[in-house]
Subunit: 394 residues, 2 copies
C-alpha cells in the first residue's frame, strides 16, 4: 500500500541493539517546522520515564520531533531511566538544532531494564542524519514488539480547495484494555489545527477507538497517543467552531478506529476479531460495563476460540458485570442468529456454531431495560496467547 | 484417606445420564434428623434455578437433604428450570417422607440446557434407596465437572468431653474468582450450632477462603456453599458467645481454607499454586484490590507459567489496580528473593527464575504506604486452560 505523507514530516529508523539483532528499534518522527502537538497518556500509576517527560513537554502544545524505541519500556528504571530519556531527547534536539522542549520520546518493550545507552548514543547521529531516507512504514515497523504486522492508516481531507493529509501509525498486540492499550500511536497531519481543537479531537478519538478495545485486560505503563499538526498545508487555523473542524475530526476518528481494530486483529495469538454490542442498557456507562465484562471474560474468549456457541458464559459475564440486567429480558445474537430469547435458549446453537467458524464475529446483546448502547472490540484467547506471553521476556 | 463422618449423615450417588456415561452425576446428602442449615450464594445477577429455590428454602434455617447434580447448571432455563428443580426436590422429599421445605438442590455444569428429567425421574427412587450405601467420597466424586480430583477436608473438634466432626466437600476448577467460585461446597457437622452462629461463621469462613481465590476471574451463576449442623453429637447449643464457638469456627475456617486451596491447585490447566500477599497498603480494601489485580492479570499468570520473573507485569498490574501505590516505594519478593527494591530492579532475576521452577510460589508485595495486608491464592494461565475451555461445552 502507498501512503500519502503529510507535508513536512520526515522519518528515520535505525538498529540500536535494543531488540534482537536484524531489526530496527530506534526511530524518529520529525516535522520540518515546529507543530502543534497533543498527547494522551496511560492512566496507570506506574508510568515509564518517557511518559513523565512527555507529559511535561507536551503541556505547552508545541513539538517538533518524537523519538521512539521498541524492545525496552524504560519503565521502573528510577532515576537512571529519567536521566536516559533526558539525555536522548536532548541529544536529538542538539543534532536537529531545535529546542529540547520540542522533543518527546516513547518507549515500548520489557519493563525494569535500563536502556542500552552505549549503542543508543552511538546511533543518535545516524538516526538524525538518516532523516528523509525512510518512510513512515519504516517507523511503523521499527516500533513493533510482538506485533505481527505494521499498522498504518491515512486519510485525505478536503479543506476548501486544498487537500490535507493525516497519517497514523501504531503498535499494539498484548496488554490491550479499555483504558488504552500497550500501545504507541503517532498521528501526523499537515493541516493547521489549533492546539485546543487538536487536544479535544484527540481525546474524543481515543475514547472511541483505543478505549474500546480489549485484548487481555492489562494496562501498560507506556501507553501513549500523540498527534502533531504542522500546518504546512497553509489553511486557516481550524478551531472547534470552524467549518473544517468536523471533516478533520471525522478523518481522525476514522484513522484511530482503523488502528484500534488492527490492534485487535493482531492481538497476541488471536484467531478471531470479535465485535461486542450491548443495546438496551440503562445508561451508557452500564452498557460499557456489560460489554467490557463479556469482552474480558476468559471463558467467553476461549469458547469463541473453540467455535462454541456457549452463550451461558456471556450470560454469566453480564450477570457479574456490575451493570443492571434482567435475566428474563435479555436477548443474545451471534451475527443475526438469535441464540437467547428473553433469557432462555432458542435452540439455534448449531447455526450459531457454524457462524462461529468465521474469522470476524459479532455478538449483540439486548438488555431491553433502557436505551443506552456500547460497542467494544476484542479477540479470542488462544493457546498461542499463552505461548507468546509465557516465553521469557518477550 | 479415611474421613470420619459426622453422626447421622447418609450419602448416595447414582448415574442419571446428565454427564458422560460411566460417571455418577446425581447425589444426595441426607441427615437422619432435620438440621440447622445456612447457605451462601452467588452474587451474580443471573442465578440458576436451584439457587433461587435454595435462597427461599434456607431462609428459615432448617434443612435435611441436599440434592446435587453435575453436568448441567440448570441456569438460564426459565420457567422450565424452576419447575424441574421443584419437581426433583419435592420428589426427594416424598421418597424420604420429609417436608419439601427441608430439601435443597444444587447444580453445576453447562448453562442454558434444561435437565434431562426423564432419566432423573427414573433415578430418584434409586437415589433415595441407595442412601447409606455410599460414602461422602462418592458424593465428592459425583459433583466433579472439570475437576481432576475430589476435594474433601475434615476436622475433629473437642466439645467438652465429646468429639464433634465436621466434613466438607467441594467442586471447583474453572470460573474461580474473588466473589466465590464456580463451586459447590457442602459442609456437614454433628455439632449442635445455633442457626445464627452457623450463618455468621459460614459467612466469615467463605470470606477468608473461597472469596480469596482467583482462577480465571469469572463468576458463576451457581456458586453455593451450604452447611448442615444436625446436633447429633448432643452438645449444648453453640452460640456466638459460647465457650466452644471458637474451636468450632476455627475448624470450619480450616476446612474451607483447605478446600479453597484445593480448588486453586486444581484450577483448569494450572501448573502452579501461587500465593500473593500485599503488605503496606493504605486500607484492607486497597490491599485486596492490589492483590486481586495481580492475581487476575493474564500477563502475570502466563509469565509465571513460563517461569519468567517478569516483575514488570506485577508493577503494571499494581499500577492499574485502583489501589494507591507509589512506584518509588514498592518492593516485590519472589519467595524470599527481593526482585524489586523501591521500584527498581535488584538484578536478582536469575535467582528468581530458578525459584519459579517450583510448583508452589509465593509473591510478596510491600507497598510501604500503610499498614493493611491481604492475601489471595491463584494459579497460572496455561495452554491447557485454553484447551479445556475451548472444547465444546465442557
Amino acid at each position: 500500500m502507498k501512503y500519502l505523507n503529510p507535508q513536512g514530516f520526515l522519518y528515520s529508523a535505525v538498529e540500536a541493539a535494543i531488540k534482537k539483532p536484524g531489526r530496527n528499534d530506534l526511530a524518529i518522527i520529525y516535522s520540518e517546522t515546529s507543530a502543534n502537538i497533543a498527547g494522551i497518556f496511560t492512566t496507570n500509576q506506574i508510568k515509564a520515564a518517557p511518559v513523565h517527560l512527555d507529559i511535561r513537554r507536551t503541556r505547552n502544545g508545541r513539538g517538533q520531533a518524537i523519538v521512539v524505541n521498541s524492545g525496552n519500556a524504560n519503565a521502573c528504571t528510577g532515576r537512571q531511566g529519567m536521566d536516559d530519556v533526558q539525555e536522548i531527547t536532548n541529544g536529538v534536539a542538539r543534532h536537529l538544532h531545535i529546542d529540547q522542549s520540542l522533543v518527546s520520546m516513547c518507549s515500548t518493550g520489557v519493563i525494569g531494564v535500563t536502556l542500552p545507552m552505549k549503542s543508543i548514543r552511538r546511533q543518535l547521529p545516524h538516526l538524525v542524519a538518516n532523516l528523509g531516507k525512510c518512510k513512515v512504514e519504516d517507523v511503523a515497523e521499527a516500533i513493533m514488539t510482538t506485533d505481527s504486522f505494521p499498522k498504518i492508516s491515512g486519510r485525505k481531507v478536503a479543506i476548501g480547495n486544498k487537500t490535507g493529509r493525516i497519517i497514523g501509525i501504531c503498535k499494539g498486540a498484548g496488554m490491550i484494555c479499555p483504558s488504552m492499550a500497550t500501545m504507541l500511536c503517532f498521528i501526523m497531519t499537515d493541516i493547521n489545527v489549533q492546539r485546543k481543537a487538536l487536544k479535544t479531537s484527540l481525546r474524543q478519538a481515543v475514547q472511541q477507538s483505543f478505549n474500546r478495545i480489549v485484548v487481555d485486560g492489562d494496562m501498560s505503563t507506556n501507553d501513549t497517543v500523540m498527534i502533531m499538526a504542522n500546518g504546512m498545508l497553509g489553511n486557516g487555523e481550524i478551531t472547534e467552531t470552524a467549518q473544517y473542524y468536523r471533516p478533520f475530526r471525522d478523518s481522525l476518528f476514522g484513522i484511530t478506529a482503523d488502528l484500534a481494530k488492527m490492534i485487535v486483529r493482531d492481538g497476541e495469538g488471536a484467531s478471531k476479531f470479535i465485535e461486542i454490542t450491548v443495546n438496551g442498557a440503562r445508561t451508557a456507562r452500564e452498557a460499557q460495563k456489560a460489554a467490557y465484562a463479556v469482552a474480558k471474560s476468559s471463558l467467553v474468549k476461549t469458547a469463541l476460540y473453540g467455535k462454541d456457541a456457549n452463550w451461558g458464559r456471556i450470560m454469566a459475564a453480564l450477570g457479574y458485570s456490575g451493570s443492571k440486567i434482567r435475566e428474563e429480558k435479555t436477548d443474545i445474537y451471534f451475527g443475526k442468529i438469535k441464540v437467547v430469547d428473553a433469557g432462555t435458549a432458542t435452540g439455534k446453537d448449531d447455526a450459531a456454531t457454524s457462524y462461529l467458524k468465521r474469522k470476524d464475529i459479532s455478538i449483540t446483546i439486548n438488555l431491553k431495560i433502557g436505551k443506552a448502547s456500547a460497542q467494544v472490540y476484542t479477540c479470542d484467547l488462544t493457546e498461542e496467547y499463552v505461548r507468546i506471553n509465557a516465553a521469557y521476556r518477550t
